[in-house]
Symmetry: C2
Subunit: 228 residues, 2 copies
């Protein structure tokens, strides 16, 4: 099958020298990609500069992107041509809009004025003791996937931090429904280390538990076979 | 001589999954370190996870740090034991203090209240359309170096974006004086690429021009010989 995988984490520029980055090593996306390739699938991996990459393979194409706007563009182009999307990339929820010193913000009568402003400087001055950064929400790309290709099998990811298993699975089920996904891989940062990677592969009426990145990849491979 | 080099860029956490990062590949710090080692100097390199590292060498010790607080601690410990500091790391000027939805900020009578707040969540919710991040200024570590070791030879760096040569050199001279530095390497992001790296090595009454990372390293090596 033709499978689109995303991995790594996006970065959103504050100015030419600073960014807000979502952490993601890309290790899981690499293992998933390599597992799919070994099973004979064709993979296009959308990833970021800092993420670790799979070893090259005749059935692998890699596209590097930086930020959410790039990702939206590439996904919109590609989603139509693939049968499965495994969307493991950590995507920035917000993009910096405007940064200013505290005094400028405090003396404003109407804070909404800053939402339409843009910094003119290429490197924002660092003279102020306190700075205030306004950020606006990015489009939720996962929610657009089924509009672009209603037939694609959509596998999403949900990362929370230090929550109960029940809560994690509930949030995954909400994402499943909202994004019309086939499956959500739900994981908790406190249960991810170099030795383990606990995750729940959550479907509408059931879930499976994986204890490592390789187990996640193997379970996803099984699942994808059933989509064929 | 015993030389302390810093390279890479620091990251300041917003929450467990997001950080503000200062971009720096670490390439210049790597070349400077390798040049110094080849000339027989002993180097301790303070750098960051993402930065490229020099090849290992019996006279090289590498210390990895993440954020400005780490850097402050390590520098305070180490500066005393070295004769020269080459401080090429891109250090975050600000650290996130508190992030909140726009409504919470807008309805406040006194914005200073947010400067003492801390986010309780481990992953800040992404429901709001606009978020506002308050950041406070970090201590300027370069300005503390001579307090910790009045005898150290201090070589600082100044990176600006798209300014005139005159302005760049003027800003470098201000930094020279303010931080009691021996030399400031002043460079402009628009003149740095994989092919070139233009920089001015600015001293009180003169400056030298380098056109590549290797030229910067060679000129610094010459300069350090004169300190001995």
């Amino acid at each position: 099958m033709k499978i689109l995988v995303t991995s790594g984490g996006t970065s959103e520029k504050i100015d030419r020298v600073r960014s807000i980055t979502n952490h993601s090593s890309g290790k899981l996306g690499k293992i998933i990609t390599e597992t799919l390739l070994k099973a004979g699938h064709e993979v296009c991996l959308i990833t970021t500069l800092q993420a670790v990459k799979p070893v090259s393979h005749p059935n692998l194409r890699i596209i590097e992107i930086k930020n959410t706007a790039d990702l939206l563009q590439v996904m919109k182009d590609k989603v139509m041509d693939y049968q499965v999307l495994i969307h493991s990339m950590a995507v920035s929820d917000y993009t910096p809009v405007y940064m200013a010193g505290f005094d400028e913000i405090e003396s404003s009568q109407d804070l909404t004025e800053f939402l339409d402003k843009k910094n003119q400087e290429t490197k924002i001055s660092s003279k102020e003791d306190v700075q205030v950064l306004f950020l606006k929400k990015n489009p939720k790309i996962i929610s657009l996937v089924k509009e672009w290709n209603p037939n694609i099998h959509l596998i999403g990811f949900k990362l929370l931090v230090d929550v109960s298993q029940e809560h994690l699975i509930q949030i995954a089920r909400e994402s499943l429904e909202k994004n019309q996904a086939d499956l959500i891989v739900a994981n908790d940062l406190t249960q991810i280390s170099s030795e383990q990677h606990k995750a729940y592969l959550v479907e509408k009426n059931s879930f499976q538990t994986a204890m490592s990145k390789h187990e996640i990849a193997d379970l996803l491979l099984e699942k994808i076979k059933s989509y064929d």
